[in-house]
Symmetry: C2
Subunit: 189 residues, 2 copies
């Protein structure tokens, strides 16, 4: 390959991540925001790290209540998902956008329309320059029954979508190209 140093465009690379909707309570009401920056970060107990811009009301909600939800929308929810990232709770009440339910946590609103909902209790926070990195312990998972295969959420049935930046495009999942902790076995020889 002919590698080029594109470090002058430091935003050129962003890991592709799943597009989700973050649920919080802000001033006593459910609030939702498009969240594309997240990853699992601890094996046991299962924890998720999410990054939220400090100026967002969602960050305030998490700091105030110590709880949040991560909801996985299907591809047919691209429009409404994106909308939650375009308008601020400062100006727009987003509490009625979805049918909301609750699990164990009283300030982690879950979205009925989303095939997967995860409840998290704040475990750690890292204050970075423009963003908070919040680490949440997963305390509850809810899934649309028909989208499970042998009890597990099945990506082929759920049809999640991912975000690439800086081109700012959403992508569905393509073909399965292999099995993790399996495809490499041939290289062992």
């Amino acid at each position: 390959m002919a590698q080029t140093d594109i470090s002058d465009n430091i935003f050129a690379f962003v890991p592709i991540t799943m597009q989700t909707i973050l649920g919080t309570h802000v001033q006593g009401k459910a609030n939702f925001m498009a969240l594309g920056w997240l990853t699992r970060c601890n094996f046991k107990p299962p924890m998720i790290a999410i990054a939220v811009n400090k100026s967002n009301q969602s960050a305030e909600g998490i700091l105030d209540n110590g709880e949040f939800s991560v909801n996985v929308p299907a591809t047919d929810m691209v429009g409404i998902t994106d909308y939650t990232g375009l308008v601020s709770a400062k100006k727009t009440d987003k509490s009625k956008l979805f049918d909301v339910f609750y699990g164990q946590l009283k300030t982690a609103p879950l979205i009925e329309e989303c095939p997967i909902n995860v409840e998290c209790r704040l475990a750690e926070k890292v204050e970075l320059l423009t963003n908070y990195l919040f680490v949440g312990e997963v305390v509850g998972v809810h899934a649309e029954d028909s989208l499970l295969t042998e009890g597990h959420p099945d990506p082929e049935k759920i049809k999640p979508f991912v975000l690439s930046m800086p081109d700012n495009r959403f992508w569905g999942l393509g073909d399965c190209v292999g099995r993790a902790w399996h495809e490499g076995k041939d290289f062992k020889k």
Copy 2:
């Protein structure tokens, strides 16, 4: 939707994330490990959060040197990528698996075969129960020239793949299903 509480299977949900190869120096030599848990986490300066099991030699390398690389393999590298996650540097020398080059950082080995390479300097670390969450500031980005569109890495050309768990499958990117910060505009009315 008919949501079911599947919290008894707390590992049921894992965000889908891009499959990458983590580069570190371990005991003075380049080392590589499959890394599927990462996200961007700060807007300015650009930072990436990665989660590494504490028992991995790669974690030691990052703690020792304060530097690491994130390399994005293309779909045709599924086998070798997976292999780097199957064998430990404790037993297997992985320094010769790839053609290695260096950018600014002297202990962040970059993989020539990967279309995108990112050099990171450790900025923060969070010690969780089984994993470290490392936050790295992006200090350099290298890309295969022919895979850029208007100076940006183009997912359609790069052909990255993502990991879903706990079904442990790799997926290529599917169709573009929309534009971020755009598709939601219709909902504003």
